[in-house]
Amino acid sequence: MAALGLAALAGLTLWGAWSIPQGPGFSAVGPRDFPLVLSGTLALLALAAVVQALRGKIPDEAHNPEEPPLPGARARMGWMLAGMLFAPLGLHLFGFFAGGVIGFATVARSFGAKSWPAITGWAIAATLVVWLLFDKVLTLKLGNELLRLPF
């Protein structure tokens, strides 16, 4: 699976490299050559990876005999991915506070935290601390207001 994905990526980079205009040809190595060589190499490597994968030579941690993932990996990953989708959304619509709380809560849940009141409490506290530290002390730009309304 991963090897096939890699092969697809190699195809994409080859296409991307091909579409770089070479520009006026007064230099021996133009802007396209490096990307072209690299994506060509990547394609070869991807091919080798597909072959290795078919021979079962690429280890997959999912089948690690010593330490297989605990049951429920899908649910945990689901929480994680949901967080990665909704945290930026919350960040975009309602500002840093919403995004931060969503991100923290989903990650905590995916690490096996069960009690929602505890999760929410910790998420709010952690987000506040980080916001104070980054925006106020280190003066990065997280947005001046904690909560922003989209309208």
């Binding site: 230099s27 930026p88 952690a126 280190l138």
Partner: protein
């Protein structure tokens, strides 16, 4: 002698209260991230990179140096008490150190690690002080062709040392190099791999890639495996100092470890894994108690820990004198230099003498701070290991997101952060090393630029790389490094 007077001047800067504060803060933060499993110095410095817009360069690099050294000290604490090495270089420490802790000798193990780190770090820094000016002198003769060959050597080294599989190492490196090509080409202004996205024209931000791969990727992998909540923290048992026997058995391994660590770390090929392993096997061979190895031999902690820290000092040498990073952390430090508009390399010692020597002086100071900070506060560090996994990783993701978003206020960047996190997860799952990708991302554009400059100078003649004596020699070494290990393995 010149180095000595520069160094004295550096000390007079480094001991200014404000600079000292940054050094202290760096050591504190460094130990903290070293102790916490899952975050290391590369990630921490990457997260702090946005701050380079605000603080003066000297303060920032003193802070980074503290983090860099501090993480080495902190990492050993985790390896000994929790048996989860934070980084590949402390695998050996975990082996013997954790056994010692289980036998009720955690105190001496921690003490020999800390004192050994101090001695090795100090000797390594002394070596850095006196060898760097020599390297700078010869490096001033380097042209773009030599630099290209050097970077090629560094890249070859990365792939041959790291990871269990050459193929997966190469894939990771190759992808990193390609990521480095994204954006506007510096020489011609052509767009490359931007796919019509304005956000991609500036290239991929090192911070985003590194934080995504290291922090987000690691968090996803740990969540997927579900083992994060396990792991037993050993009690701190025994005296936190060495008895006469401990000193007698430790001092030689410390020195031998330093002797392995610094030169190998300083080579464009080195890294810290090789010297720690070499030191471990040497101690095992020389020990009068070989039967103790595997059950907690103090030599097996003292030697590798010293090697680890000496290598850390060694890694700074090619970075400062040549501008060539040989580890992921060094690569991030390099991009910190560039974000100040400072190009590390031979000219750094002339143009930024104040900065360099203050940095080197603060390495000495940092070592002392760390020795004082580490042992007495070890109880506090252990408490950190008891933070429940959900809050710890939730916090890591939160800080990563805040760091990236705060630097650019761009949702696109946050999306990229998570995308690279996903990539990091996939790479961990299929046992592909992450570090070569970060190295490729940073070294790739540098290598391309120097290659094209060299070819412009030679009017398009590719033999320039082989016929210029220094460049040719470096290329030959790189070729040997690719071939020799394989031949040796084939013979076995």
């Amino acid at each position: 002698m010149d180095a000595l007077s520069h160094l004295m001047h550096g000390f007079s800067n480094a001991l200014q209260p404000a600079v000292l504060m940054y050094g202290f803060l760096g050591c504190l933060v460094g130990t903290l991230v070293g102790v916490l499993p899952g975050i290391g110095p590369a990630l921490t410095i990457a997260l702090l990179l946005p701050l380079t817009f605000k603080a003066p360069a000297t303060a920032m690099f003193v802070l980074f140096a503290g983090i860099y050294y501090g993480a080495m000290y902190g990492g050993s604490t985790t390896s000994i008490l929790l048996n989860t090495p934070g980084e590949s270089a402390s695998v050996v420490t975990a082996l013997e150190g954790n056994r010692m802790a289980r036998r009720g000798m955690a105190g001496p193990a921690l003490a020999t690690a800390a004192i050994g780190s101090f001695i090795a770090g100090t000797i390594g820094t002394i070596a850095l002080t006196f060898f760097s000016p020599m390297i700078v002198e010869s490096a001033l003769l380097f042209g773009p062709a030599e630099y290209f060959s050097l970077m090629l050597l560094a890249l070859v080294a990365v792939t041959s040392v790291l990871g269990n599989s050459l193929l997966r190492g190469l894939v990771s490196l190759n992808l990193g190099l390609l990521f480095g090509m994204v954006g506007v080409d510096l020489q011609t202004g052509q767009h490359r791999f931007a796919f019509g996205q304005a956000e991609l024209l500036d290239g991929l931000e090192v911070t985003i890639v590194a934080v995504g791969l290291f922090a987000v990727g690691e968090a996803m992998f740990m969540a997927w495996k579900g083992h994060a909540a396990e792991g037993k923290v050993e009690k701190i048992s025994g005296s936190l100092w060495l008895d006469r026997e401990g000193w007698r058995r430790s001092w030689k391994p410390w020195l031998r470890g330093t002797f392995f660590g610094f030169p190998i770390g300083a080579m464009p090929a080195g890294g810290a894994e090789l010297p720690t392993l070499l030191s471990y096997y040497t101690e095992k061979k020389l020990s009068r108690h070989p039967e103790e190895f595997g059950n907690g031999a103090i030599e097996g902690v003292a030697g590798p820990e010293a090697a680890n820290n000496a290598a850390a000092a060694g890694v700074l040498m090619p970075l400062l004198t040549l501008g060539i990073p040989t580890s992921a952390t060094a690569a991030i430090l390099l991009s910190a230099f560039t974000s100040y508009g400072i190009a590390p390399g031979p000219l750094l010692f002339e143009q930024q003498a104040d900065l360099v020597w203050t940095l080197i002086a603060s390495l000495y100071v940092g070592n002392v701070i760390l020795l004082v900070l580490n042992l007495p506060l070890v109880g506090l560090w252990v408490q950190l290991l008891r933070i429940p996994a959900p809050w710890l990783y939730g916090g890591i993701i939160l800080i990563s997101t805040a760091g990236v978003y705060g630097a650019s206020s761009s949702i696109f960047d946050v999306g990229m952060l998570y995308a690279f996190g996903l990539l990091g997860f996939v790479m961990r799952r299929f046992d592909a090393p992450v570090a070569p990708m970060v190295m490729g991302l940073i070294l790739g554009p540098m290598a391309e630029q120097s290659m094209r400059q060299a070819l412009t100078i030679s009017a398009g003649d590719f033999t320039t790389f082989a016929t210029r004596p220094i460049s040719g020699t470096i290329l030959a070494i790189a070729a040997l490094m690719l071939i020799v290990p394989r031949v040796m393995r084939a013979r076995k």
